[in-house]
């Protein structure tokens, strides 16, 4: 009885869930090849950023076309602290999160005053402009060349044969799990409910005593912090922070990623991350097996991405996770379904 009550506590439940996922990821990473560990790491850092964005857009109803640039802030923070100043990885990742959250708070204040297309425009300008700083100040940011980060060394206790890629996957998955734990708690907290209320009807939220602007700024800060953490993990995994990684295309793919996966849901962010990592490699395989010309081949990933996005929106308007949930409901006995809906 006491156990059941304990399990009812959101934090306890989410902790157990996160631990369960961590165990699954551990076994997955031990079973797969180094190259697939690298993919797993990419999925994990994209998930971290997508999870933050899906909270902002899905939960709070604010759009951001600038999350690629926020990832760049995290990546460059890690690159400068680890690569140049010799910091350890964990404090550098924390710093990346804090710095990006700080920049996110500025963006958030701007965002709280803007609506719809104007907000999209402002964040778009951020995404276009920020990577240009690297070229403007080549001595600090290495220009187009970027900043190199030394490969993270697996602890000696894991043995000398421990593949670098698995270690990178562990680092990236750890950041993803931290983001997952934090956001799944937030979703079911007072702040999360306030965010949803603001999203659904700002006037009603205000009448209910909620500070609309403050809620929106909070959402932006949380979201930016996740993007910064994800960007920092990206820099560690690719051992590089360069403007070429943070183009406008990245910002747009992040946004389409959360739509594809299912807006506002954390598992949806995972689907989106998988799509971002796997679709280019599948399209590569397609292009290779049909030996298409390079002009077609280089445009195929984006085209395929577009086709999948359209397909998902037509077939499953709530994204991949929405379709999975519907399938789950259909497979479930009726009684439990009504229980589900009551909840």
């Amino acid at each position: 009885m006491r156990l059941a009550r304990l399990l009812d506590r959101t934090l306890v439940r989410n902790l157990l869930l996160t631990a369960a996922i961590a165990v699954v990821l551990l076994f997955v990473s031990l079973a797969i090849t180094p190259f697939n560990n690298l993919r797993l790491a990419s999925i994990a850092y994209y998930f971290t950023a997508l999870a933050g964005l899906t909270v902002l857009t899905g939960l709070n109803g604010q759009i951001s076309l600038g999350h690629g640039a926020l990832m760049a802030v995290g990546a460059y923070t890690v690159a400068i602290l680890v690569g140049r100043d010799g910091w350890a990885l964990v404090p550098a990742l924390v710093a990346a999160t804090v710095v990006t959250a700080a920049i996110g708070s500025v963006l958030g204040v701007v965002a709280a005053r803007l609506r719809g297309p104007y907000l999209a425009g402002a964040t778009l300008a951020f995404a276009v402009g920020l990577p240009g700083l690297a070229d403007r100040y080549p001595h600090a940011f290495g220009g187009e060349n970027g900043l190199i980060i030394p490969p993270p060394q697996p602890p000696a206790g894991l043995g000398s044969a421990f593949p670098l890629e698995r270690w990178e996957a562990w680092i990236a998955c750890a950041t993803a799990l931290i983001a997952f734990l934090a956001l799944s708690n937030l979703q079911r907290s007072r702040v999360g409910r306030a965010m949803r209320a603001v999203r659904d009807d700002e006037v009603a939220a205000q009448l209910a005593g909620l500070d609309v602007a403050r809620t929106q700024v909070t959402a932006f800060i949380v979201s930016a912090a996740c993007a910064g953490l994800g960007g920092g993990a990206l820099a560690v995994v690719t051992q590089l922070a360069a403007p070429g990684a943070f183009t406008l295309v990245l910002s747009l793919s992040l946004l389409t990623g959360i739509v594809l996966g299912g807006l506002g849901s954390l598992p949806g962010a995972l689907w989106g991350a998988i799509a971002l990592v796997m679709l280019p490699s599948w399209s590569d395989d397609i292009a290779n097996s049909f030996s298409l010309s390079t002009d077609v081949q280089s445009n195929l990933p984006l085209a395929l991405y577009g086709v999948v996005l359209m397909g998902v929106i037509v077939a499953a308007p709530e994204g991949i996770q929405g379709a999975v949930r519907r399938l789950g409901r259909r497979l479930r006995p009726r009684s439990s379904m009504s229980h589900e809906e009551a909840a």
Binding site: L25, L40, P138, I148, A242, G244, V324
Partner: protein, 434 residues
């Protein structure tokens, strides 16, 4: 948009389902294990490269990897090297360092290549050198003249191929010093190890003649500020350490502002076919090779238009048979010459080479000459490529070499003439003469 409140159980189901799909999709990727090195069997050797098939460096450079593949196809048709067919996989990185990192790791981890061959670009390849050396993957004949490849102590697996930009800069500077004494020199260069290496070499020879040195970032679309600044410094001579796209952009600006210096273009940015094509497309057909006519340049390979040269004759024959869609220009010649060097190294590495044997073969100095008009510098302590260049001039849209090949080192060593005649492909004994 409606977001239902979900029970965490469903979230977990989603996550696990996703993980399962991922794991299933990634299954059975384990390659066949061999007793020697990855990527090599009794009948084949698999090598990989990263190259810009798209992006700012693609014009011209995208011809290099297909030309190398054509050369390998020719060698394979002759039976390969010690019975092994060479399988060359090249992947597009768009000259974007971030993509280079991911495609090179894909080549090493997924394609399990024996060696990385002719990875193209300074800003790109510098990002994978540490990785390749930590993984002990031979990193052969980097398609860039950055002096940084020549570092046998910390990068024992990396070997350069083309003449180092610093050596180019020195020999260009030496020529300017002797023939344009007292003239003011402006330098337009790419802001990375490529341009900076060239500038360092130039400064070694003519430190007091340089009046302006302006960098560009690859990706810049407007180079007018740089060119007009050099013009304002009254430079009589303009030296370009540029990739073809920026040679063309720079010349278009010079033309527009009426700046007519004596032009020097370092080897990588001088191929008249490529630059002419870019001038034409940037100006929507109004400009042509005429804008680089009379420019000085230099090279370490015979001129691609010199059909009497047995190497050019061989390359032309292979080109017509295997790569006829591409124009026969300096890039094609470059790819084939680099591919020849790989074949020579593979042959020198013994009948059952491991990765280490490839490195040992190069360190031993057995690979000494090839299609170049100057020798390679390979030794235990020297991982640079070609040792020098010969001056040339663009005449009627073709590079005409003149004078004598000069050789030197990337440091402060003397510049000397190289007088040995070039070996023909048949005499070199690596491949059968047609």
């Amino acid at each position: 948009m409606t977001i239902s409140m979900r029970r965490p159980g469903l979230g977990l189901a989603g996550c696990l389902a996703a993980a399962a799909v991922f794991a299933a999709g990634c299954g059975n990727n384990g390659g066949s294990s061999s007793s020697s090195s990855p990527g090599i069997t009794k009948t084949s050797v698999k090598i990989g490269g990263h190259t810009p098939l798209t992006g700012p460096a693609a014009p011209g450079y995208s011809e290099i990897a297909p030309a190398a593949k054509a050369f390998f196809a020719y060698v394979n048709a002759q039976g390969g090297v010690n019975g092994r067919k060479i399988n060359y996989i090249y992947r597009d990185d768009g000259y974007n360092p971030t993509k280079t990192v991911s495609v090179v790791r894909q080549l090493v981890l997924q394609d399990k290549v024996f060696a990385i061959f002719n990875g193209l670009g300074t800003p790109t390849h510098t990002k994978v050198v540490d990785y390749l050396n930590t993984s002990k993957v031979p990193d052969l004949f980097v398609a860039s003249g950055c002096p940084c490849w020549d570092d046998a102590a910390s990068h024992p697996y990396t070997f350069g191929w083309q003449t180092s930009y610093q050596i180019e800069g020195k020999i260009l500077g030496d020529y300017i010093k002797k023939n344009f004494a007292g003239k003011k020199v402006g330098v337009f260069y790419q802001d990375d190890d490529f341009g900076q290496g060239g500038l360092t070499g130039l400064k070694e020879e003519i430190p007091s003649q340089i009046v302006a040195a302006k960098p560009y970032q690859p990706g810049d679309t407007n180079v007018a500020p740089q060119i007009t600044a050099i013009q304002k410094a009254h430079a009589d001579i303009l030296v370009d350490f540029t990739i073809p796209a920026y040679t063309a952009l720079g010349q278009l600006v010079s033309f527009k502002v009426g700046y007519k210096p004596t032009l020097f273009i370092s080897n990588v940015g001088a191929d008249p076919t490529t630059v002419g094509g870019l001038l034409k497309s940037f100006s929507k057909g109004k400009a042509s090779t005429a804008l680089i006519e009379g420019a000085y340049t230099e090279g370490y390979l015979p001129s691609v238009n010199d059909t009497s040269n047995p190497w050019i004759a061989l390359f032309k024959k292979i080109h017509d048979q295997y790569d006829a869609k591409a124009p026969f220009d300096g890039n094609v010649e470059y790819g084939m010459a680099a591919a020849y060097t790989f074949v020579a190294t593979l042959k020198a590495a013994g009948t059952n080479p491991t990765r280490q044997d490839m490195v040992d073969a190069l360190n031993s100095g057995k690979v000494a000459v090839g299609p170049g008009i100057v020798p390679y510098r390979y030794s235990k302590t020297d991982h640079g490529g070609y040792a020098g260049v010969q001056m040339g001039k663009i005449t009627n849209g073709q590079i005409k070499l003149f004078g004598q090949p000069m050789v030197t080192d990337p440091g402060s060593g003397a510049i000397t003439a190289y007088t040995k005649p070039q070996q023909s492909p048949g005499d070199a004994g690596v491949i059968k003469q047609p």
